[in-house]
Symmetry: C2
Subunit: 438 residues, 2 copies
Amino acid sequence: MNVKRLSTADANFDAALKALLAFETAQDDRIDQVVADILRDVKQRGDAAVLDYTQRFDRLAAASMDALELGHAELQAALDSLPAAQREALQSAAERVRSYHEKQLMSSWSYTEADGTLLGQQVTALDRVGLYVPGGKAAYPSSVLMNAIPAKVAGVKELIMVVPTPAGEKNALVLAAAAICGVDRVFCIGGAQAVGALAYGTQTVPQVDKIVGPGNAYVAAAKRRVFGVVGIDMVAGPSEILVISDGLSNPDWVAMDLFSQAEHDELAQSILLSPNAEFLDQVAASMARQVEEMPRKDIIRTSIENRGALIQVKDLDEAADIANYIAPEHLELSMADPLPYSQKIRHAGAIFMGRDTCEALGDYCAGPNHVLPTSRTARFSSPLGVYDFQKRSSLIMVSSEGAQTLGKVAATLAYGEGLHAHARSAEYRLKTKPEEAS
Amino acid sequence: MNVKRLSTADANFDAALKALLAFETAQDDRIDQVVADILRDVKQRGDAAVLDYTQRFDRLAAASMDALELGHAELQAALDSLPAAQREALQSAAERVRSYHEKQLMSSWSYTEADGTLLGQQVTALDRVGLYVPGGKAAYPSSVLMNAIPAKVAGVKELIMVVPTPAGEKNALVLAAAAICGVDRVFCIGGAQAVGALAYGTQTVPQVDKIVGPGNAYVAAAKRRVFGVVGIDMVAGPSEILVISDGLSNPDWVAMDLFSQAEHDELAQSILLSPNAEFLDQVAASMARQVEEMPRKDIIRTSIENRGALIQVKDLDEAADIANYIAPEHLELSMADPLPYSQKIRHAGAIFMGRDTCEALGDYCAGPNHVLPTSRTARFSSPLGVYDFQKRSSLIMVSSEGAQTLGKVAATLAYGEGLHAHARSAEYRLKTKPEEAS
């Protein structure tokens, strides 16, 4: 396996790093046009349009949308059907994810000023949320847990899951995860048509307030288009891992951690930074050896050869600078005493500290969310969490006394902006009218 | 003035309300195409493209981008040039906005489980933020305060403002507000080209991590397009106010509060709910009388006649239900004892409580942000705040003991998803390997 080797000492390192990270996130105009047409049709024709597209794209004919809805009994049966070890692992993961997310709950607050004016922030949950779950080979029950549990912890009253079942094929693990999370309704639909059904509502599918969950390029384009009508989570790019090692880690462990990202997708990106050139050699050798044992070796090889890199850095401080530039989705700090080092990291989706903390633990069951910002968006965005299913309303109750001071300030600024109704509205609350005062 | 009168007792009320609220938020394909071309050009040609479009759209020729940057001295001079009352009002508003927003600052947290595993959330500020400020008649200094102060409170290191100055015309109030907020750099550019410069960076304009601030349809389309490359705030629709009155408010005050929204824009929406038909008559009469005194009477009349309504409700509980359906940007509770009533409101951008609390106080100086979710998006989104300029990274440090339990759960789920590298990576951390255990 041919893995790219870079060194920050190279003259052209900055350009090489930029080229390594370059990923075309541009919208595909053709996909966008197809999606626009589907969305328009679903908005106009509702259930009938969704049924048509489901027949066409998922090769699944149904007489009505009702026939595509799964009942609670069917979800529970899927859970009951699992081998005990899988069922218990799902339940244990769900419990830990719930426990972590409960710490994110925001509460309302307010305070009263000396003149009696009250200011604050009222926190409420979204009423109804749609959860998109991909079908086929990318159907991950862990993704159901990570999207549904924060919504339920936030207090969302109704959680509606859509999952395509191509040719009627259902994934028992996905349905079992839905049962564990208390998903309220499940429809076997997918693609842009499912996004449209959730965003606009149909005769059968209720309109939601926000749509979350991963999907292919059509789903991503549809989410982008309906943003504003409903809320959406991030539009995710390929998954990434950045490992920083002091050079004393087990090369086999680090190689496998890099593979755990690479096996997702040929476009996934796995990068290792270390000041120790010999360690980088060891990891390269380990990768070449271990890849042969991997069921997904072709995906891993393509991902690592096209988008991976082993990068020698001057020292760990320089590694932190590079990490902050990359703003990786997953960052492993495979080193002694990682906690103080983590303070140097300004931009990362999740930080995995210490040689025992492989990313896979976080993907499934450590507790924090595995829906994380990709493609350098950790510069400005955050892991999915309870806060994505809560919202805030400002609270303002100005006392009669407070209105006297605030009214004058507001009127002055409103006149400055040429907004006389604003000014007059504030002046009405003054006990001494401006004309009397002057 | 002909104001629409509705009653929830009308047979067709639900349809009438839906029609009243209907607002076409669809993207304009022509604008979108123009914007796509401008963005592509700015991405490729940088400063040269921005200079070309500034000359074409803003009728402003400049030899270089440097010539379009304003220095701190120029901002300070604008502040010094203001009449004392305006300067003091701006400073007083800024101080109150800062004080409120300081209460929103999120902090990092972590906790350690019994087996020594540490979980948490590290909170950091965005590095660099772009602030779009419209030029011309919609240039509002209050908007500078409301966007810049939360960013600065969050700890954003560099805040870059863009503001078009058509034919070179600058707005002293806007520049003064920038001086008060400590905006770091100001460029006299606007439109999609300014959004492109901030999103991609040019030779002179540094790339930012997020773009906030209001703008026209071209700016909104550009923000939507660059979303993902950088973060954006919401894409705002026309402004709205909903007033709920118990019927004992001063009709002139309520009429003027409705006008204060209507004067923004012909598409703005002002709605009053009250169980008291006589009070609705009084407000209608007051509006007819007072509109004549308003400098923006034409805008107000168009807005009120086309998009406004006076709605008679059965009681205040029904009013709360309607408010939750509308999810208004601004909600005034003009009634006795509004605080307990506010608990019934689940969806609103900001809640103004009591007869003295007109929306204008919140627009300028009460403290909470005036950038609020419009067009029913308060169902899923929140006022702009400090949290829009902070982000979170998950912290996971699994102890050696913790890795033994979590590793087994993760491996079980990973095998279930067909991800063997994930499973193997987790199993490497087990002291008793699976094959030995079995």
